[in-house]
């Protein structure tokens, strides 16, 4: 449920089954205790993850406004969807948002991580960099809405002072989406940098030293040593941040609500509108299923392209 909250980061998990040979039973009645222990979590999982996933596909095959009975329509919603200009427009807006958000966020946080790794080991500095990420999306969006206020906002005051003039960023179709991307880049920069920083600390120092002895430039070292060895972290960061970015919602709810002229109507916002403003649960669910399949595809593609799992450290 949590679109961009803290615990969304997946922890790498050992999927391999434990060895089958066991010395002696750890506790008596292990099978019964095992099921008793997982029961509450299993109930929560079935009620709020498993069944809703199945139901989303079911509801997607109906027309339903929540008031009457749901009417089965088969794949009609999907046929409609592929001819729905608004749907494709919202997909395009979402893709554009990802393109504005991800490269900027990745490059800035990579730079910050390298700086942290090279110049300070201070936990205090790393804590400060985490501050934006720990503040609620809504509060972050509200602060930026205020700073970018066209009349009184401090950011506009500064732009005016250097001769660029004031600008109503959130009410201009050209700048609204980049402004939202900038807000989220600011919020996620420090957190992403921290993940990269962890990756950097695993790179053996002697590799840098020998590169330096051979007279390689800083940029060359970064390109030929740091980047390749950082790839597993890079895959993890890109996969999770792209998935999060595709589902942008909170910031839009606070700043533009999809406007102006639908220039920030991203896919999750469009699904939300279809379900709760137009009460078309079936059509909205069908769209959410397409989003799901799309995200699975994007994830697999990313993992394939970046050859995850392999590090270049023999």
């Amino acid at each position: 449920m949590a679109t961009t909250t803290v615990p969304n980061q997946e922890i790498p998990v050992q999927v391999t089954a434990p060895p089958k040979i066991r010395k002696r039973s750890f506790v008596r009645g292990e099978t019964i205790w095992g099921w008793i222990f997982i029961l509450p979590a299993l109930v929560g999982f079935i009620a709020f993850y498993l069944l809703p996933t199945v139901r989303a596909f079911q509801i997607g095959m109906t027309n339903w406004n929540l008031l009457g009975a749901a009417k089965y329509v088969g794949f009609a919603n999907y046929q409609k969807l592929f001819q729905d200009e608004k749907f494709w427009k919202s997909m395009w807006v979402t893709l554009l948002y990802v393109i504005y958000n991800i490269p900027a966020q990745t490059i800035l946080s990579l730079l910050l991580a390298v700086l942290l790794d090279r110049f300070t080991k201070s936990v205090f500095v790393r804590t400060i960099m985490l501050v934006p990420y720990l503040i609620s999306n809504v509060i972050v969006a509200m602060i930026w809405l205020w700073m970018l206020d066209p009349i009184l906002g401090v950011a506009n005051f500064m732009l005016d002072a250097i001769g660029l003039g004031k600008h109503a960023f959130f009410s201009d179709t050209l700048t609204a989406l980049p402004a939202i991307a900038a807000v989220n880049t600011w919020r996620h920069m420090g957190f992403t940098a921290l993940l990269f920083y962890t990756g950097l600390t695993t790179i053996p120092r002697y590799l840098y030293e020998s590169a330096r002895i051979e007279g390689a430039s800083e940029w060359r070292i970064f390109r030929s040593v740091t980047l390749p060895l950082l790839r597993p972290t890079m895959v993890f960061v890109l996969v999770t941040s792209v998935i999060g970015s595709f589902q942008i919602f909170d910031t839009i709810a606070v700043t533009t609500q999809g406007g102006p002229a639908n220039s920030t109507r991203t896919i999750v916002w469009y699904i939300y509108q279809t379900a709760f403003s137009n009460m078309r649960m079936g059509y909205a669910s069908a769209m959410s299923c397409v989003l799901f399949l799309g995200l699975v595809l994007v994830t697999l593609l990313q993992m394939r392209l970046m050859r995850s799992g392999e590090t270049d450290l023999q």
């Binding site: 980061q9 809504v138 999750v268």
Partner: protein, 296 residues
């Protein structure tokens, strides 16, 4: 600065300069929120460029907590006047407690079974939990909303908390890793013959893992305190709405259409304070746990 001293090379100077810029950029917006919340509504018009609040006052905090004298002439200068943000703070506290405590307890139970017990079906269930992390929130919210509505739980705390109360995949994985990283023998030695496993778990196992449980509690508290999407869908009424939902409502609630910035920033600051307190006391722990989640 001498060029002979290699500790002060231009490269280093540039590096520290860039770090300083990152620090300023990260903290400046927070300072602007604090500054605005301390500025009087009348002084706001002329103080955009000031670094410090002008006409410093706590009046904004008084009025968003509904404590300002209704006859106070300064109320008229503000967009929202007196509002009951205290109620939202209270609701957020209830919501957070209702989610965090059971979620961590039940996730710990399951995590312990996954880490330590051998029973048929375990690996299948665990695989399903992993698969659940692939399903986007953007797909789950419609069926979950319909379920909560059918239960008659819209605009109730149980409706807002239900999806998070019994587990999140993250909490289960985090705690499973924690159990796996402690040697089994230590626990076995503590076992009392004849005591039920549940009693041993609550009285011995959980206290043994206090530090990791505390870390997860802090992370989950922050995430729940900040949660917007789900409470926004099922808990919009004043009696249950949490701070994020309340702040979003206050923005548009102004007669003239101009947001009440000083009041909104005071709300923002009060919403940040609990997080700031956690960060001051547990900063290192929070930083290290995020690094842990990035480690491979």
């Amino acid at each position: 600065m001498t060029t002979t001293d290699s500790r002060f090379s231009t490269g280093k100077l540039l590096g520290y300069g860039a770090l300083l810029i990152f620090i300023i950029v990260s903290l400046a917006p927070v300072w602007i929120a604090v500054k605005t919340s301390l500025t009087g509504a009348a002084a706001l018009l002329s103080s955009s460029a000031d670094v410090l609040p002008s006409g410093t006052t706590l009046f904004n905090f008084q009025r968003i907590l509904g404590l300002a004298d209704p006859g106070d002439p300064r109320l008229g200068q503000t967009g929202l006047g007196n509002i009951d943000f205290l109620h939202a703070l209270l609701n957020s506290t209830i919501f957070t407690a209702m989610v965090v405590i059971p979620q961590i307890f039940f996730s710990a139970l399951a995590a312990y079974a996954f880490a330590r017990l051998q029973f048929p079906g375990k690996n299948a269930v665990f695989f399903l939990f992993i698969a659940a992390t692939m399903v986007p929130a953007g797909m789950l919210f419609i069926p979950n909303f319909i379920l909560i509505r059918q239960l008659g739980w819209l605009n109730t705390f149980q409706g807002m908390a239900a999806p998070f109360m019994l587990m999140t995949p993250f909490a289960v994985f985090y705690l499973r890793q924690m159990f796996l990283s402690t040697p089994k023998d230590v626990e076995e030695a503590a076992f009392i013959d004849g005591a039920s496993l549940l009693r041993i778990f609550v009285q011995i196992i959980l206290p043994m893992h206090k530090p990791a449980l505390a870390t997860l509690t802090i992370l989950t508290t922050i995430a729940t305190w900040n949660e917007f999407f789900w409470p926004f869908l099922v808990g919009r009424e004043e009696k249950v709405r949490v701070i994020a939902v309340a702040i979003n409502t206050f923005r548009t609630q102004v007669p003239g259409g101009v947001p009440d910035w000083t009041g909104l920033m005071a709300c923002a600051v009060l919403g940040i304070i609990p997080i700031a307190v956690l960060l001051i006391f547990f900063g290192r722990r929070i930083v290290e746990s995020f690094q842990f989640s990035g480690a491979k």
